[in-house]
């Protein structure tokens, strides 16, 4: 392991690897990634592979729009096939409240140049005959949304990092920091100490714990979710389907398997055991909107988590308390979509020492200032603790 690095990136998931890759590409010097297990072992490879810009907050739409562009050329840029396909994303609503969210979001997306459309019942039936129209009140569709294989994306970034000389330390846990004044001077790990000039916290659901070791408070919390995959089929399902209630997600990867997941419930533990109740709940709800799914075999299930923030938007940029400590966490279920653009923008901020306008609203200081970026498609919206602003600001820095 290196004794000294220019930047230490904590977290070897898709976000940390994207930041590390973009940093070395910009030539900032030695970059070291610290990962407590294997690369991509957290939420990066426990998601449903969807990439979309159908969000409810302007700032998130702008970021995602850029990320989608990067995904399009990522296989060529990284020299590794990420199994990317522009199949579109369809968001579904069953209740009047959910339908209203979709309508509002589509108007906002259109104003920002994203060509999302609300589908009328006739169109829905003609274009997506496998969906049950009786259970769908409204559907929005953006044909430029896409999907990629999550494992392949992690490997594409990690192989590119390896090629460019990033030090990838797996099974290396962060134990603490050496902080002097308002700066981290070194990171203490289970395998020794690394001196550094800057640190990136891309530790996913462990981000809050990691930040606390440096005396930084983050309002993030882990929210448990579960996923499943069926036996492989001939490829037939282009769009990623996201039902707002949950959200429940379902799509098919280019390997043929149907991948689905559900974040429903209010379990904030890091318990990674799969449950029969998830399998039953997911299957019941998925069959309601997608009846022919009942003929497929569920092959494997797993558990995962979202690193959720009070407003459902990520925490990006330098911490207020420790100035050389950059946050790239709190993605609230959208880390896979946003990883490419966040890596690029954060590397720019770190290299230039100057913020870019698209990143500034996401700074950790927004919780103290009450400038929340409320994302109505994030699972966090349905949780009572998140809707109370005073609680959110009380856990933010007091300074």
């Amino acid at each position: 392991m290196l004794e000294k690095a220019e930047v230490v990136v904590i977290g070897g998931g898709v976000v940390g690897l994207s930041v590390a890759y973009n940093l070395v590409k910009r030539g900032v010097g030695k970059v070291s990634v610290l990962e407590r297990r294997y690369l991509g072992s957290g939420a990066s490879t426990r998601n449903c592979c969807g990439i979309r810009s159908q969000f409810g907050a302007e700032e998130n739409i702008r970021l995602a729009r850029e990320s989608k562009k990067i995904f399009q050329g990522l296989t060529a840029e990284l020299g590794f096939n990420i199994l990317h396909i522009k199949g579109g994303c369809m968001m579904l609503a069953s209740t009047p409240e959910e339908a209203e969210i979709l309508e509002r979001n589509v108007r906002l997306q259109n104003r920002l140049g994203v060509n999302t459309r609300l589908l009328n019942p006739g169109e829905l039936r003609a274009r997506f005959p496998y969906l049950n129209p009786d259970k769908i009140r409204a559907a929005s569709f953006d044909p430029t949304d896409s999907k990629a294989h999550h494992d392949a994306v992690v490997m594409a970034y990690s192989e590119a990092c390896r090629r460019l000389g990033v030090e990838l330390n797996t099974y290396t846990e962060v134990k603490g920091f050496k902080v002097e004044g308002k700066a981290i001077r070194a990171v203490k790990t289970s395998r020794g100490e690394v001196k550094c000039s800057r640190v990136v916290n891309a530790a996913g659901v462990w981000s809050r714990q990691v930040a606390r070791m440096a005396g930084v408070n983050l309002p993030n919390r882990p929210l448990r979710a579960e996923g499943m995959v069926t036996e492989p089929f001939h490829y037939f399902l282009d769009p990623t389907i996201v039902h707002l209630n949950g959200p429940l997600e379902l799509t098919q990867t280019l390997r043929g398997e149907l991948v689905g997941g559900l974040a429903d419930g209010e379990d904030f533990s890091l318990n990674l055991n799969s449950s029969l109740s998830f399998a039953e709940n997911f299957c019941k709800r998925a069959v309601e909107i997608f009846p022919r799914l009942k003929f497929a075999n569920l092959m494997r299930q797993w558990a995962g988590y979202f690193d959720v923030t009070p407003d459902g938007s990520p925490v990006l940029g330098p911490a207020e308390e420790v100035e050389n400590f950059f946050q790239a966490n709190g993605f609230s279920g959208h880390g896979f979509t946003l990883a490419p653009v966040v890596g690029r923008l954060l590397a720019e901020v770190i290299a230039k020492g100057k913020a870019t306008p698209s990143l500034e609203p996401f700074y950790p200081s927004r919780f103290r200032e009450g400038k929340l970026i409320v994302e109505n498609t994030a699972p966090v919206d349905r949780l009572s603790w998140a809707s109370t602003l005073p609680e959110a600001s009380s856990s933010a820095p007091s300074r």
Binding site: S41, C283, F295
Partner: protein
């Protein structure tokens, strides 16, 4: 099938040669080796291939099989119809 070709994972059609190549590329962790090659992710969920791959990895890394750990074993043990799960039929034998 070419002469001398050894298949390790029948579900995903992965040969021994492909496993060796992946390990040489640097996928020396069983979890990442599984994701790179696709072994253990088909209908058998690793029952026929996982130990074969562990043996190849152990040999190449100069380890004993006792030192190797499996990947996380995930339910269900056998594929189950989604329709059966949706109807709650998998609990029929309970109580």
């Amino acid at each position: 099938m070419g002469k001398g070709k050894e298949i390790v994972c029948f579900c995903e059609d992965v040969s021994k040669e492909e496993i060796v190549k992946a390990i040489k590329m640097g996928f020396k962790d069983l979890e990442t080796l599984k994701r790179f090659t696709g072994i253990s992710t088909g209908p058998c969920q690793g029952k026929s291939c996982l130990f074969q791959v562990m043996r190849i990895l152990a040999q190449m890394e100069g380890k004993k099989m006792e030192e190797m750990a499996t990947t996380t074993i995930r339910p269900p043990a056998r594929p189950i119809l989604i329709g059966a799960l949706a109807e709650g039929e998998t609990r029929a034998g309970e109580g």
